[in-house]
Amino acid sequence: MMKRLGALTVAAMMAAAPAMAELVIPDLSYRTGPYAAGGIPFSDGYQDYFTLLNQRDGGIGGEPVRVLECETGYNTEKGVECYESTKGEGALVYQPLSTGITYQLIPKAAADGIPLHTMGYGRTSARNGEVFNNVFNYPANYWDAASVAVNYLLDQNEGSLDGKTIALVYHNSAYGKEPIRTLQALGEKHGFSLTEIAVDHPGQEQKSQWLQIRRERPDYVLMWGWGVMNQVAIQEAANINYPMDQFIGNWWAGAEHDVTPAGAAADGYLSLNMNTLNPDLPVFDEIRAQVVDAGMAAGDGSNVGSVLYTRGMYAAMLAAEAIRKAQEIHGVSDITPEMMRDGMEALEITAARMEELGMPAIGPEFSVSCQNHGGSGEGLVQRWNASEMRFEPLTDFISPDREIIDPLIEEDSMAYAAENNITPGCAES
């Protein structure tokens, strides 16, 4: 027995020995804990896309990609451990999928010169690239999401929300608190009143919150939830007969596993999305053929095409495109994290390129610059069709209200710069 274990260990060590010249992408995933339902499909999509690139094209620019998966459980301490254990391997970019871990990593990654990509989460004011040189939150952020939701509601109400009441049901953490300031500012501008209703981690207990909603009957309910909290909220909303077409989740509160537990009652539930949904994208066929059927899928392959799988794959595509850009700028295929940063800052996603990659119109067209690390900020509204068991896009991409968001971003990022002795300016490439 011991001999066999020893042989196995040696074999594993040989297999794990790092090969030279690779593009190392860490995946700080979570497949356990109360947020696993969202973490699993995202991580599957993220990894499968890189596997596809390795299988089909031999990597990016001739360099194979090595994905290092590390389980964080959505826990900041484990996230730090994962960051420290992978950064030495030449990690090019971190995608932590957790606002808490992002806050941890922003100063650490800046000190180590490694870029962070926090799409649609993390610190919103990182959009200001002159203060946050290493942090990118394209294609959109929380404040964009809040504004997109309000713009959608304006559209539904002939341009006026005067006298309306909106309740915000939010995860009582940095993640959930992020949109409050923007919604307050938007409330002043458009004349709606905002009720803030907090739900504590992990969010399984929401009876009192929904009693309050039943009593006050707000015109609309917005939700900033994640993990098990979403399912409970949608079930509770169904229990009090709150109309689903007045209930809008943000883009982390709108995936299949959030609505399916409530069954037919969830029909018509609205949520935002930063990417379009189309289970028939050509790239999914390639993934099914070359990754899942070849037995190389990160998970069991059942998530291909779902909301969060698509978003994970979209994130991987953006990272891969930034790598290509960096290779092009610096003329080498084996890039460093510093070069990766330059690639991310020069990234440009066009409709033609998305079409070419087999994912036409998966996201908005946008380009990144030193001043703008946040992309276009557009989002769309999708609607859950319970009989077909899928989300259907309800609108096109809606632009956020830059007039409200930009001053808030300026204020928050400048406060960060003052606290941390940062002189705003573009990084030299």
Binding site: T32, E71, T76, V80, Y103, K108, A174, Y175, A198, D200
Partner: protein, 358 residues
């Protein structure tokens, strides 16, 4: 043969009641301390500091604190996470309110603030005990976390409710912030651990500690022989909360640098520290260290072995970790309620007689 007592005679009471009565232990202690202070700072890397050593040292302080309250004084507490949060938020308010204050003062003051809060929540212990007291301290846990989330003064009205530690130095060396050298982080925590462990050891073997243990063993008998339960229990709460406050403060300033109260100081933290002292050994200084080391190192070791070496899926290893910790707690409660410290004590006894047992 490892432990040799022949020729190791004690001729004074002082010599007989020292912490390490066996010469081999005494030497071992000084050797470990010398390695920790003189050798490790030169070897420690970012990974070792942030993933292993600093969390171990910080949890060791928390475990010492809880062990004083639960292990020595018999007052069950589930409020550890809440008290750590008090330490962290006090440190944050002190660091941002008084920028000239050095980190040692900040850390000690946050400990003192936590001690005051701890005494407040210790008051019910005069009337209730055991299970009921555990529930009272559980209330402290939930109340404190709720308060730090609700009252925005505590996080300086920031948009997200996260607190992050600004850069601070002592003697011109950075100890907080992302640019801190790993050895500075490590030595700063080590300083507190060594001093606090020494304080804890001397408190627990002196008058105060004997009063605590008398209350733990039988409070009515203790009262009859002249121990004032009010003072004994409240002093245990004060000292224990001081330790936990210091650990919470270091956890925030030196280790993580940014925390979110619900996530970092939730109920799981209280349980984690409680598991540390159960596995390590109730009522033992060494047990606090052993428990902290065990629970900090186990996930890291399992990850290194399972994921990096054998290539197992990460979620299987994470679940395995839960299974193993749960299993060990049951095992220790059944087989060895005094934990790792007692196992070590037994090993020592055996080694002293080896190779000729009775």
């Amino acid at each position: 043969m490892l432990y040799r007592e022949a020729g190791d005679f004690k001729t004074t009471y002082t010599a007989d009641s020292q912490t390490f009565p066996i010469k081999f232990d005494r030497l071992g202690y000084w050797v470990i301390l010398a390695i920790a202070v003189l050798a490790l700072p030169f070897l420690v890397t970012d990974y070792w500091a942030n993933a292993v050593l600093v969390p171990f040292l910080i949890y060791a302080i928390a475990a010492l604190g809880l062990n004083i309250l639960t292990g020595y004084c018999g007052q069950v507490s589930l409020g550890t996470g809440g008290f750590m949060a008090v330490g962290a938020y006090s440190a944050y308010k002190l660091m941002t309110g008084f920028e000239w204050m050095d980190m040692i003062t900040v850390t000690l003051l946050s400990g003192l603030i936590t001690a005051a809060v701890g005494v407040l929540f210790g008051l019910p212990s005069l009337r209730i005990k055991g299970f009921y007291l555990a529930v009272a301290t559980l209330a402290a846990q939930f109340f404190l976390v709720w308060m730090f989330n609700k009252v925005s003064w505590f996080y300086n009205y920031s948009a997200s409710g996260q607190i992050s530690a600004p850069e601070r130095e002592i003697f011109g060396i950075l100890v907080t912030g992302p640019n801190t050298e790993p050895w500075a982080q490590y030595l700063f925590c080590l300083l507190f651990v060594v001093v606090l462990a020494w304080v804890a050891r001397n408190l627990t073997r002196g008058t105060v500690g004997r009063k605590w243990m008398a209350i733990r063993d039988m409070d009515i008998a203790a009262e009859i022989i002249g121990v004032n339960p009010l003072r004994a229990k409240l002093s245990a709460f004060a000292v224990s909360s001081f330790f936990i406050g210091v650990s919470g403060s270091l956890f925030f300033t030196v280790y993580l640098g940014a925390v979110e109260v619900g996530e970092a100081f939730g109920i799981q933290k209280s349980f984690l520290v409680l598991f540390m002292i159960i596995i390590g050994g109730l009522g033992s200084i060494f047990g606090s260290f052993a428990g902290a080391a065990f629970l900090v190192l186990l996930p890291v070791a399992l990850k290194l072995f399972g994921v990096d070496l054998l290539g197992w899926p990460t979620d299987i290893v994470a679940h395995l970790n839960l299974v193993i910790v749960g299993g060990l707690i049951v095992f220790f409660l059944v087989v060895e309620p005094h934990g790792l410290a007692q196992l070590w004590r037994l090993t020592k006894e055996k080694l002293r007689l080896w190779p000729f047992p009775h």
